[in-house]
Symmetry: C2
DNA sequence: ATGTTCACTGGGCAGTCTGTTCAGTGATAC
DNA sequence: GTATCACTGAACAGACTGCCCAGTGAACAT
């Protein structure tokens, strides 16, 4: 569960140059190939590395508008609302947060006008009491993990 | 910019089995290897596929607590606040949203108690007027892209 | 001190994939 | 009618992967 310095270097290297192979990594890190391979296997079976899926940019797909909707759910309707939102492709992520049945919902849309359609579809469901939406304008820090990995690796040293 | 059905199948296949190679993909999809290769190159140079970085689970790294902080920024301090937050490893993502200088900030922490430390570090900066935090409890829909890809592929058909 | 366990090293092997190139084909656009 | 484009099927050398092995060194328990 805790990662050491070598694990950290492996992850960071992989994050910076994903197409790199195990052999090249072992060369860069100055360790044997078998070591890198064993570490990678361990990191994956630990669940630290979930996978290497493609990172798709919704904007490039034609969905340049991102928004967050805060939903207030009627007591006991949580499960239904989740199932409903899971069927909406524009819902990229759904989280339940502290607060009385609150959910936070990450949305994308083809345009600001299209966002209205998406929101209507999201909230057009019994069980949602109230919704407020904030449109994302800029993304100064895109979803990242490297600094955290480096800190986790340093902590274990 | 628009993706067709084959592009969609490539992305979905890649998302489901990231370790798959171009050759195996071409077999599964029933097209020539060169086609898959050309499509992949195009998707990447288009920016639709940003990369194949490892998906790291913060929880497995020892950061099981996720929270969202809404920050209200003093006029004109936006750039400074961004630079500040970029230096905090526990800040996984930062977005500016509609509203008077508002930012939304995705955080992780080692525990609820540790979250206090993180939040103190986040808001311990001149220029942040107010902050409110919501702790994430569940994640019914983890960050996903497949449904959107499928819809984008279907739309172009 | 002795023995065990574990991770790492460095080597080797067969099998497979990648990057690249090429000519041929069909559909589409001009 | 012709140029353009994407796709096919094939080929090639080079590189990588998965897997195996024996040897070494450190940490740990006996």
């Amino acid at each position: 569960m805790a990662i050491d310095h070598l694990d950290g270097r492996i992850i960071v290297l992989l994050a910076r140059e994903p197409r790199i192979g195990v052999l090249e990594m072992s060369r860069r890190l100055g360790v044997a190939r078998g070591t890198v391979q064993a570490r990678l296997d361990r990191l994956q079976s630990n669940g630290v590395i979930r996978g290497f899926g493609p990172q798709v940019d919704p904007a490039a797909l034609g969905y340049p508008v991102t928004a967050f909707a805060t939903l207030q759910i009627r007591q006991g309707q949580g499960a239904d609302v989740r199932a409903h939102l899971a069927t909406v492709p524009e819902v990229l992520e759904l989280l339940t947060t502290t607060g009385s049945g609150d959910m936070l919902c990450r949305l994308v849309a083809r345009s600001n006008a299209d966002l209205q359609r998406v929101i209507d579809r999201v909230i057009g469901f019994d069980g949602i009491v109230r919704a407020s939406t904030a449109i994302v304008m800029e993304n100064p820090v895109p979803l990242r993990i490297i600094p955290l990995v480096e800190q986790a690796a340093a902590d274990s040293a």
